[in-house]
Symmetry: C2
Subunit: 252 residues, 2 copies
């Protein structure tokens, strides 16, 4: 195997509503799947409050550490929407009213409806490139390696789909999943041995409790298809050796 | 209002499956709601990979910063379950086989079924206090201000419910929510003015797009009931002044 460049990312979820339990975040899993398909490895995610110091602190840590950062939330018109100014401060850049964003909002709202609060949605750090919002028009933006996206899932998804061609990734991660009713405590030893022989793959073991009974899902990930198939076949053989009946599953 | 002690917490979600998008985390919102009821403010959450350095780095940051930390995931019997040893290393403590945990496992498994992999689930940092698992027996543990819980939601919830009386909190956050079809861009100015007058409360504005139409939910949180009621009434009046019909909503 040749050494290849691994592209990495973090997600920064901004919003008190996720930390209060009011809202169950739905953006992380969408971004995780999309990044994986783009050959970008999501290394960590953080949820922070609508608090300038918290946003700046977290953003500056992750943008230095990973190739890409995707933020969600806090770009609406109300007082608790402070993502744009916080991102500008994190970069040490001036916050400007982006002329193209103003034009988008002018085209969207009826004359007289584009008030000062709504115009705030055109604020970006100086030098930002807009991210299109086909749903409700108010754009996101990209500054450096940071993509600032909406929090409403429908809008966030449309924004992310629109920027995929700006993202550079490595070979996409491939995955296989095998499920059986063998408990993970019995699989553990053999599975650890397979993982040791396939250090280039990532093998995860996930117990489940379903109405139909309990068992274990084993998920294998890697970029080399032949290695992945070989390891998956060893996992199936391990399950059979323990009296189980391995079933292939959608890896998800 | 007298100045009161605010109790804070962070949640650390450990698991590649959440970052690959395979699993949608369900633990954060459960913990968020439970902590809020206990008068503890959830300040941030992080999702990290099954990677020792990542777990240690994140844990040492958040345990120094907040009163409590709750970790989920990575305490099973397989090779990818590395939370206990990572937590021990983060604290600079020896990893021991906890005798009470061994007894719990011995009582749970049939003779001969308690193999070395399963015994690993009895490992804790030296000095840890066990957290009971009424579902599948293998316990979590508490060390210092860190509670190490399971990743499977059913088990995590039972563990958390069992430790609530170990947690010291301040006055519980109260909340009110008012919903209307007035867009947040029209509410923004007046809402910002209300927030400025009620700096002790936290007022959030959340647009929604539902099958029945779109609108805005306004959520107010704070510990002083009279202030909360007064601010909520001002929000209702603001909505009416803009031609809307404010409806009370479950704040969630």
């Amino acid at each position: 195997m040749t050494e290849e460049r691994v592209y990495t990312a973090a997600v920064l979820i901004i919003g008190n509503e996720v930390l209060s339990g009011r809202t169950q975040d739905a953006n992380l899993s969408y971004l995780a799947v999309g990044l994986s398909r783009a050959g970008i490895r999501l290394m960590e995610a953080r949820v922070v409050r609508d608090d300038e110091a918290a946003i700046i602190g977290a953003l500056n840590e992750v943008r230095a550490r990973y190739d890409y950062v995707f933020t969600t939330g806090g770009i609406g018109p109300t007082h608790d929407d402070i993502t744009s100014e916080s991102v500008a401060k994190a970069f040490g850049l001036k916050l400007i009213r982006h002329p193209d964003a103003v034009r988008l909002l002018e085209a969207h709202y009826r004359p007289g409806d584009l008030n000062e609060a709504r115009l705030r949605m055109a604020n970006t750090p100086e030098g930002a490139v807009l991210v299109r919002n086909p749903v409700s028009r108010a754009p996101g933006f990209q500054i450096g390696n940071v993509f600032v996206l909406a929090g409403v899932p429908l809008v966030m998804q449309a924004m992310f789909d629109g920027i995929r061609d700006r993202l550079k990734g490595g070979r996409p991660q491939l995955s296989r999943a095998v499920v059986s009713t063998v408990p993970e405590g019995l699989l553990a030893k053999g599975l650890g041995e397979i993982q040791a022989r396939y250090a280039d793959l990532e093998i995860g073991s996930y117990p489940y409790f379903r109405r139909t009974g309990y068992g274990t899902s084993l998920v294998l990930r890697g970029t080399d298809q032949a290695r992945l198939e070989a390891a998956t076949e060893e996992v199936r053989a391990l399950i059979r050796s323990l009296g189980g009946d391995p079933q292939d599953e959608q890896p998800g």
